[in-house]
């Protein structure tokens, strides 16, 4: 079904197919191959080289060895941006997936108007990455914002959620959780694959709602949970727009919303410190790679494949 499971099956032998058709195939692949080398692999190698240089876009890159990386070791703002990003990923992804799963289960149980609710819940996933919604968020969680107006109705006095360093990141987490619709749609597709007879058999045996959820739904859905987890983690590590707009590009207040990507932008395109930005980009790739690999490794112990 997914790109991930597709990767897993690549090693398997296919039945002997038609004979090779190299010329036609490579002609069809030509645009993609050109893009792969000119826009992806080429720049990847270039950024790997730049990571070991000092480069400001005007003078030629100067080879400085590991200096960018040792600088990263002592760069307090970078450490802070890692803390902010990890907090964001570790809090918002589990919350988002839990809500997505619960609503998918409720919607899957033959609720009338399911398609309608699915669309409504999905809509924020399309809007969430836009500047307009970030503008809205600035107001909603501002001092005189909608959220505080709602709180005052029930007699609670609010504060400037976005201007307070202890809560600013929280508002961005809420924004990410708000876009649970797309993993929810993937969960719904997964729930469709579970044979109804499993539930019928369990009902005959007298299993209640919760028992059926934990003994049938959850285990059979683990491949989809795994897939959503990997994708949403990769996605959350790369968040940029919302923090950029909500903080006015500064990652403030007091760097409390300074995502790793925001700091990378600040170094590379704010200060034209291209060597350092490249080193950061590779560091990000390694972090995401480690997380994905760890996920795959851990999946052996909790993901259940029916085949």
């Amino acid at each position: 079904m997914s790109a991930l499971s597709e990767l897993g099956t690549l090693g398997r032998k296919k039945p002997p197919g038609q004979k090779k058709d190299n010329l036609a195939a490579y002609l069809f692949l030509a645009p993609w191959l050109l893009g792969l080398f000119a826009i992806t692999i080429g720049p990847m190698l270039a950024s790997l080289y730049l990571a070991f240089t000092d480069y400001n876009l005007i003078q030629a890159p100067e080879w400085i060895g590991l200096e960018n990386f040792t600088r990263m070791l002592s760069d307090e703002r970078l450490h802070n941006s890692l803390r902010v990003t990890f907090t964001y990923v570790f809090v918002s992804v589990p919350l988002q997936l839990t809500i997505a799963l619960l609503l998918a289960v409720v919607l899957d149980r033959g609720v009338r108007g399911m398609a309608f609710y699915r669309s409504i819940f999905y809509l924020p996933s399309l809007l969430g990455s836009s500047v307009a919604i970030a503008v809205l968020w600035r107001q909603v969680f501002g001092t005189e914002g909608l959220f505080n107006q709602a709180l005052s109705v029930i007699g609670i006095e609010g504060k400037g959620w976005i201007s307070d360093p202890s809560t600013a990141l929280g508002t961005l987490i809420v924004l990410n959780v708000w876009t649970f619709g797309s993993p929810m749609v993937i969960f719904l597709a997964g729930l469709r694959q579970i044979p109804a007879m499993y539930y019928e058999a369990a009902s005959v045996d007298g299993a209640g709602v919760l028992r059926r959820f934990f003994s049938i739904t959850l285990p059979l859905l683990t491949p989809i949970i795994f897939f959503n987890l990997v994708l949403q983690i990769i996605h959350a590590f790369q968040s940029f727009t919302q923090a950029f707009v909500v903080s006015g590009g500064s990652g403030g207040p007091s760097d409390s919303t300074m995502f790793f990507t925001l700091y990378l932008y600040d170094r590379g395109f704010g200060n034209f410190d291209m060597g350092y930005a490249s080193a950061m980009a590779w560091f990000l790739l390694v972090i995401i790679g480690i997380f994905t690999a760890a996920n795959f490794f851990a999946s052996k112990y909790w993901v259940f494949y029916d085949d």
């Binding site: 690549l10 645009p31 191959l33 720049p43 990847m44 270039a46 999905y122 809007l127 107001q139 590379g268």
Partner: protein, 294 residues
């Protein structure tokens, strides 16, 4: 909240089986409708606020409009150096270019992966799948240098040319999945009728993969319309600003007193996405369900 419902459902069934069965759908609908309203409330409120005089925005958390004012839209439209029409047109050019690029290049690559046998196919396919997960940050600095050397800064080329080269690989994957579902017998029949590879692609596969092409077009539309990072980097001349970049500079240039016009332009920027959503939900839902792309 929902586990709570499940738990009470178990408890209730033990006490009085029949009546709960009747109430259950109602409870579920109330919970679902409540959550849906809660989720969309801020967006609805923004639309309403964009039609209110500025001072009311901070006083009224409700969504009833007493006297409708479109003043915010007039002010917002002309608040920046260029009228908003300009930014809408710029975004339209970028979006159209991206859609055409993705449709042509991704469908070609997908046809090769799904139907043709060639040397190192598995290797290329694995690379294509891996490239879906590659963070843009690893390539953005050299890409920027490349495009700035080419003199493409403040043009739409850095935003369109990569699409012509199938760099949005998830669409290649989506189309591969779709083509695999088309019976091979159709290809065979066309071959017997004298079609070559290109003929089969153009006359058999492409017409049959219209749903996958529509999905690609709609996702490309929404993502490109929303895209902020690359447009922010490549477009620095206000004349070339696209909608998100213009909106952002609006936010920075104005104080909180003009929330009304800021909201008005935010609403304008969301309308195309909303329309794409209405027209294309079927394709959007299918698209994420089969590939997991956002």
């Amino acid at each position: 909240m929902t586990t709570e419902t499940l738990r009470t459902s178990v408890a209730a069934r033990r006490q009085s089986g029949l009546s709960w069965a009747r109430v259950r759908p109602l409870v579920i609908h109330i919970v679902l409708a409540g959550s849906a309203l809660l989720m969309l409330y801020p967006v609805i409120w923004m639309v309403v606020s964009s039609l209110r005089p500025g001072n009311e925005i901070f006083r009224d958390p409700g969504i009833l409009v007493k006297d409708l004012k479109i003043e915010n839209y007039r002010v917002g439209w002309n608040a920046l150096t260029e009228p908003f029409t300009r930014y809408l047109l710029n975004s339209a050019v970028v979006v159209l270019g991206a859609i055409v690029g993705n449709l042509v290049s991704c469908s070609m690559a997908a046809y090769a992966f799904a139907r043709l046998e060639f040397t190192a196919k598995k290797l290329w396919f694995a690379i294509m799948l891996l490239s879906i997960m590659l963070p843009i940050h690893v390539v953005i600095v050299p890409q920027y240098i490349l495009f700035s050397r080419a003199g493409w800064i403040n043009t739409f080329l850095p935003l369109i040319v990569p699409k012509l080269l199938a760099t949005d690989a998830f669409f290649v994957f989506l189309m591969v999945q779709f083509i695999r579902g088309i019976p091979r017998e159709l290809d065979e029949a066309a071959r017997i009728d004298g079609c070559g590879r290109a003929g089969i692609f153009l006359r058999v596969i492409l017409p049959l993969m219209v749903p996958a092409l529509a999905t690609t077009a709609i996702f490309t539309f929404i993502w490109t319309w929303n895209d902020f990072f690359s447009q922010l980097i490549y477009l620095t001349d206000p004349k070339m600003y696209t909608v998100p970049v213009a909106l952002r500079s609006f936010v920075d240039a104005t104080t909180s007193t003009s929330w009304g016009s800021m909201f008005a332009m935010s609403v304008v920027s969301l309308i195309p996405i909303f329309l794409a959503f209405l027209l294309g939900q079927r394709f959007l839902i299918k698209g994420i369900a089969t590939t997991g792309i956002k």
